[in-house]
């Protein structure tokens, strides 16, 4: 039986009744790393430990965190750390858990990271719908301030830090880092053209690092364990642990923190209990709604949870760590339609191929999944998808849009085309004389 490896979920699992309170957090060791780091006073060492750990962003893109940090230009202040807590990738529910149930871990991560980066003002862009998460994060920040762990001259170190929690207001696109920055500045959440990258000119045109909640929550543990020790966990360049949100047709849906390198089968069948009632997995989405799909064959189920392996071998991504499992009773065209409806709704409208294309994909998938499909529909979808992501059928593909939302909407189309073309053509009556 596979097991979890709990690093960032250890405290919230061990202390289900008070993990979010200052008492519960400190009893579990929170803020010890921050105190040590401030006593030693060596920001470069924190950066070095993060580099040695091999930590890669847990929000979706998987970019090496230390590399992102290293892009901040020297000597330019103020600079900002922005925590991306706008969790909205369909079927991802790990950050909400970390915020609601271990907000002090996040606050410590923000403080340690800000110290390493030389930030005196940090922001948490929190999904607006997270009512309880907002309450608990605000309480944690207030308690940390009272305890002298935030504010001016923290623990006599000379380091100052204030945290502003900025609630979003219902826009998935604000999880994209430049749209998030726009939203923080009081604008519509529309992605910016890069360059300049946020590290050079981000929030208020100042150097800015945007990191995901899980990424930032991991930083104190890396410092505590030492970067090299952390890097011993995992597989190749996918080091450490990640939280996978498993949902859909499984016996025990939920968040599981596992060492990278575990297989999909161990995660889905072992930890999540597999598909109920002895049914088979028809397909699964391995990394959030933006990812292309995998299907219930041994080659896919026995693949390791390794960001590079799945990308290189199957053209899919681990993305936000959301694994959606669908059994043989589920119509893949219906799932594709609902995802297309999501992307059409959430397209910000800035780039024409996405604004127009997502709407057309949704309309065509609607009729296909509601008994009104036409023989040419799958080819039509591939054509429209190709206007957003040229070469969509063979990932990796190009994009005609500023941000990845448009191409994400094409992932389901590409997956239908790759795995379910025969089934769909039979339903649409392709090749049948009319």
């Amino acid at each position: 039986m596979p097991e979890e490896t709990r690093i960032i979920t250890r405290r919230l699992r061990e202390r289900p009744d008070d993990s979010w309170t200052m008492a519960g957090a400190t009893a579990g060791g929170t803020y010890e790393v921050l105190r040590d780091v401030l006593r030693v006073g060596d920001p470069a060492d924190v950066q070095e430990q993060v580099r040695l750990s091999g930590l890669r962003g847990r929000g979706g893109a998987g970019f090496p965190t230390a590399t992102k940090w290293s892009f901040l230009p020297e000597g330019v202040y103020p600079r900002y750390l922005v925590v991306n807590a706008d969790e909205g990738e369909p079927s991802t529910f790990k950050d909400r858990m970390l915020i609601e149930r271990d907000p002090h871990q996040l606050v410590e991560g923000i403080a340690v990271s800000s110290f390493a980066l030389g930030c005196n003002l940090a922001f948490v862009y929190l999904r607006g719908e997270f009512g309880l998460g907002y309450d608990r994060l605000m309480a944690a920040i207030a308690d940390a301030r009272s305890a002298g762990l935030l504010g001016t001259n923290i623990q006599g170190s000379g380091f100052d830090l204030d945290i502003i929690v900025h609630r979003g207001a219902g826009a998935y696109i604000c999880g994209e880092e430049t749209a998030l920055i726009e939203s923080l500045e009081g604008e519509r959440g529309m992605p910016r053209i890069r360059p300049p990258f946020p590290a050079v000119a981000g929030l208020y045109a100042k150097p800015t690092v945007v990191n995901n909640v899980e990424t930032v929550s991991t930083v104190p543990h890396i410092v505590r364990m030492g970067g090299e020790e952390y890097a011993r966990l995992g597989r190749d360049r996918s080091t450490g642990t990640r939280i996978f949100s498993v949902s859909g047709n499984v016996v025990r849906p939920g968040n599981y923190e596992v060492e990278l390198g575990m297989t999909f089968r161990e995660l889905i069948d072992g930890l999540a209990g597999g598909v109920p009632d002895g049914r088979a997995i028809k397909f699964f989405i391995p990394g959030g709604a933006s990812s292309q799909w995998l299907v219930g064959i041994d080659e896919h189920l026995d693949a390791p949870l390794d960001m590079d392996f799945v990308q290189q071998n199957f053209g899919v991504m681990l993305g936000s760590g959301a694994v959606m499992v669908f059994d043989e009773t589920v119509d893949p065209v219906l799932v594709a339609w609902r995802l297309a409806k999501f992307f059409a709704h959430e397209s910000c409208g800035k780039c024409t191929p996405c604004r127009e294309g997502t709407g057309w994909i949704e309309k065509v998938l609607y009729r296909m999944s509601h008994g009104e499909g036409r023989p040419e529909d799958l080819d039509l979808l591939v054509s429209v998808g190709g206007s957003i992501s040229p070469g969509v059928v063979n990932a990796p593909f190009a994009q005609t849009t500023i941000c990845p939302l448009g191409p994400s909407a094409v992932s389901a189309v590409a997956s239908l085309n790759r795995y379910f073309r025969d089934e769909i053509e039979a339903r649409l009556g392709v090749g049948v004389a009319s």
Binding site: I164, G170, S183, R338, L339
Partner: protein, 165 residues
């Protein structure tokens, strides 16, 4: 100045002062306006513009992008039902349809379909004024809404802030 009451005005000014640039306060002030008033009215937009040194067109231009801002009056209880893929295969659309039918003629309750709420571990899910309710059935969801209605549960504001006792 006439929209915000004294207490909310003080919080609005504090919020504006915290940000390096005042325009950043548009989103939090729009939430604050809904906390007080139940929706984002033209009067609220005008006052947010004044407080943030922008124009009403700027504020409306920003706020109209975001689904949480209600630019016409809505019910005292906002019931947001997820129908994204995990909820789709676990009964979310049935919950939505039941609540839409049940409350179609009730002014104090607004039922809306929303995108993934990050509650897929216990799908299907909904929120009532941004409080999570999970593992729902159609009748169970209705029972929860009725508990709010009767006052057996304390609802947050329409923008999700806790209501101080």
């Amino acid at each position: 100045m006439s929209f915000f009451d004294e207490q909310h005005l003080a919080r609005a000014r504090e919020t504006v002062a915290r940000y390096p640039q005042a325009k950043s306060a548009i989103l939090p002030l729009a939430h604050l306006a809904q906390d007080q008033h139940g929706w984002l009215s033209p009067e609220a937009i005008a006052e947010i513009a004044e407080l943030t040194g922008t124009t009403p067109a700027d504020v409306l231009g920003t706020c109209s992008f975001y689904t949480m801002y209600k630019r016409r009056p809505c019910g005292r209880l906002l019931v947001s039902v997820c129908t994204n893929v995990t909820c789709l295969v676990t009964g979310g659309p049935e919950v939505l349809e039941h609540l839409e039918d049940r409350y179609a003629l009730e002014d104090d309750i607004t039922v809306e379909e929303v995108e993934c709420l990050a509650a897929c571990g216990n799908a299907p899910a909904m929120q009532v004024n941004y409080e999570f309710h999970e593992s729902l059935t159609p009748s169970g969801a209705e029972a929860i809404v009725e508990e709010y209605r009767r006052g057996d549960r304390t609802a947050r504001t329409i923008s999700g802030a806790p209501v101080d006792a």
